[in-house]
């Protein structure tokens, strides 16, 4: 449950963190040295004025002049060398973490940034193993993930601080990178490029879990939606299919197949709704369906006229889609 560059859990994030720590320590040390020297000089100067007039100490004596020149020369050279070294370090780490060619055998995941949510597609050569989901990316720990990023409308940026660096997603262009989680955990990600009204509410979760747990999750997600068993949820499904919901959302196993909004086939299994905006529970869901514009002003989720008697069956049905 974390979103922090200091809590690095992947190769890329660890590289970035180490670089940041090294920069921070080195530059703090240099800053302190400069401050200490400056203070010493101030104190000496003060004493000097008391002893003799300023002009007296600045006689063109050849000794002091050449000593001064040496000190300034050496300091300049050291500064240049340090800056040069840091540049090389920064560029090489930058190159390492933005390498776009993933190792063989990596899991292929495609992420599309949309206003204001994330479509996730697990690619596979076998068409029956292709999975569409949204706002929640499960990955196996220790296995490299080959990420393909696209944007549908405007520029977004994919950023999971604990796993990798920011990666811009640009309309009409496919960006590639790879990432890997070294330990299980739930890592929060966030759009990192201002993309409109609800940019701040465009979050997602990356859930890294052991390989067998991931496989179980994946196989379950491939299944069509569970059939409603009781009368209430059956009514809920009928309401979903007859109202405007089905015009944007897909639930595999029903007639709803639209790809405009997030796929809801296993909606009940997700941790959050509205792209990481609210915890997923019945109360929040009812609020979100009844009045999305109050929760995310400007969102493209339509305000659908659901009658109050229809709300309970509808949210019961959606939450039953585990």
């Amino acid at each position: 449950m974390t979103q922090s560059v200091w809590h690095a859990s992947g190769y890329n994030a660890a590289q970035i963190r180490e670089l940041a720590i090294f920069f921070g320590l080195l530059l703090t040390a240099i800053f302190l040295i400069v401050e200490v020297v400056a203070l010493l000089v101030l104190r000496r100067r003060h004493r000097g004025i008391q002893q003799e007039p300023l002009e007296a100490s600045h006689q063109p004596g050849s000794g002091t002049e050449s000593k001064l020149r040496t000190v300034v020369g050496i300091s300049t050279a050291v500064t240049v060398l340090i800056l040069f070294g840091l540049t090389i370090l920064s560029v090489s780490v930058g190159k390492a973490v933005t390498a776009s060619v993933a190792p063989a055998g990596s899991l292929k995941v495609e992420v599309t940034g949309k206003q204001w949510w994330w479509a996730v597609r697990y690619a596979s050569d076998d068409a029956s193993r292709v999975l569409l989901t949204a706002n929640e990316i499960h990955i196996p720990v220790g296995r490299p993930i080959a990420m393909k990023g696209e944007a549908e409308d405007v520029i977004h940026s994919f950023w999971v601080p604990s796993l990798q660096g920011k990666r811009d997603l640009i309309p009409g262009r496919t960006t590639q990178e790879w990432l890997q989680a070294s330990q299980p955990g739930e890592y929060r990600g966030q759009c990192a490029e201002f993309c409109g009204l609800q940019h701040a509410h465009m979050a997602f979760w990356v859930i890294a879990e052991p390989a067998d747990q991931f496989q179980a999750w994946f196989d379950h997600q491939l299944q069509p939606a569970v059939e409603p068993t009781d009368e209430e949820t059956q009514r809920g499904r009928a309401i979903f299919l007859r109202s405007a919901c089905s015009l944007c959302h897909a639930i595999r196993g029903t007639d709803a197949a639209a790809q405009v909004g997030p796929d809801l086939t296993h909606f009940g299994s997700r941790r959050t709704i509205a792209a990481g905006t609210l915890p997923n529970n019945k109360g929040n869901l009812a609020g979100w369906i009844a009045d999305p514009q109050t929760i995310k002003p400007g969102t493209h989720m339509a305000t659908v006229a659901i009658q109050s008697a229809e709300m309970q069956p509808l949210i019961d049905y959606l939450e039953s889609l585990k």
């Binding site: 007859r242 109202s243 405007a244 089905s246 015009l247 944007c248 405009v260 009045d291 514009q293 109050t294 002003p297 400007g298 969102t299 493209h300 339509a302 305000t303 659908v304 006229a305």
Partner: protein, 174 residues
């Protein structure tokens, strides 16, 4: 005098519907009750009184761009393409009389809500009414029937050239 001038300038801002962004729509006027659209002025036993159904988004730039997005999202473009037509008839009209079921906002609203013979589905109860009005505004903007101040200077797709619109000479649809 100066205050009056400033006041007048501010007043024009209030009157400007172009920039209103109503993200949380109030329930729109329902047009489907009692055939409000009145496709044709021709009626047995004289003319029928035209019901005054107003498009709440007329001249609103935000509604036009939202309508354009929805036009593609809801796959209107699947039949009507970008207004040029395909399986369905073109929506860019040369003449007011080219509208089969009328080109007034209320007519187009009715067409979308109720559907039409030979393939136009009924979208009522599927698309929220405020979004239907946004699509209506966009569809009208294709034929330059929305104020020029609200329509994009250069359209993304096809567009009607102003010079080719002929006035509604014989009052066919209006």
């Amino acid at each position: 005098m100066r205050y009056i001038a400033v006041g007048c300038c501010l007043l024009t801002l209030i009157a400007c519907k172009r920039e209103v962004r109503e993200v949380r729509p109030s329930p729109a006027v329902s047009g489907i009750l009692g055939d409000a659209g009145a496709e044709s002025a021709l009626r047995p036993a004289g003319e029928m009184a035209h019901q005054n159904i107003v498009n709440p988004y007329e001249g609103n730039a935000y509604a036009i761009s939202e309508g354009q997005r929805l036009f593609n999202w809801y796959n209107c473009s699947g039949c009507h393409a970008n207004g040029g037509g395909g399986i369905g008839p073109p929506l860019i009209k040369k003449d007011q009389r080219d509208w089969i079921y009328g080109g007034e906002p209320s007519n187009i609203f009715d067409t979308i809500m109720k559907g039409r013979p030979n393939g136009m589905p009924t979208w009522g109860a599927k698309i929220p009414e405020y979004q239907v009005w946004q699509i209506v505004t966009y569809v009208r903007s294709l034929s330059r029937l929305e104020p020029k101040s609200a329509t994009p200077a250069r359209s993304d797709t096809l567009e009607q050239k102003t010079s080719t619109i002929r006035p509604d000479e014989k009052g066919a649809a209006h």
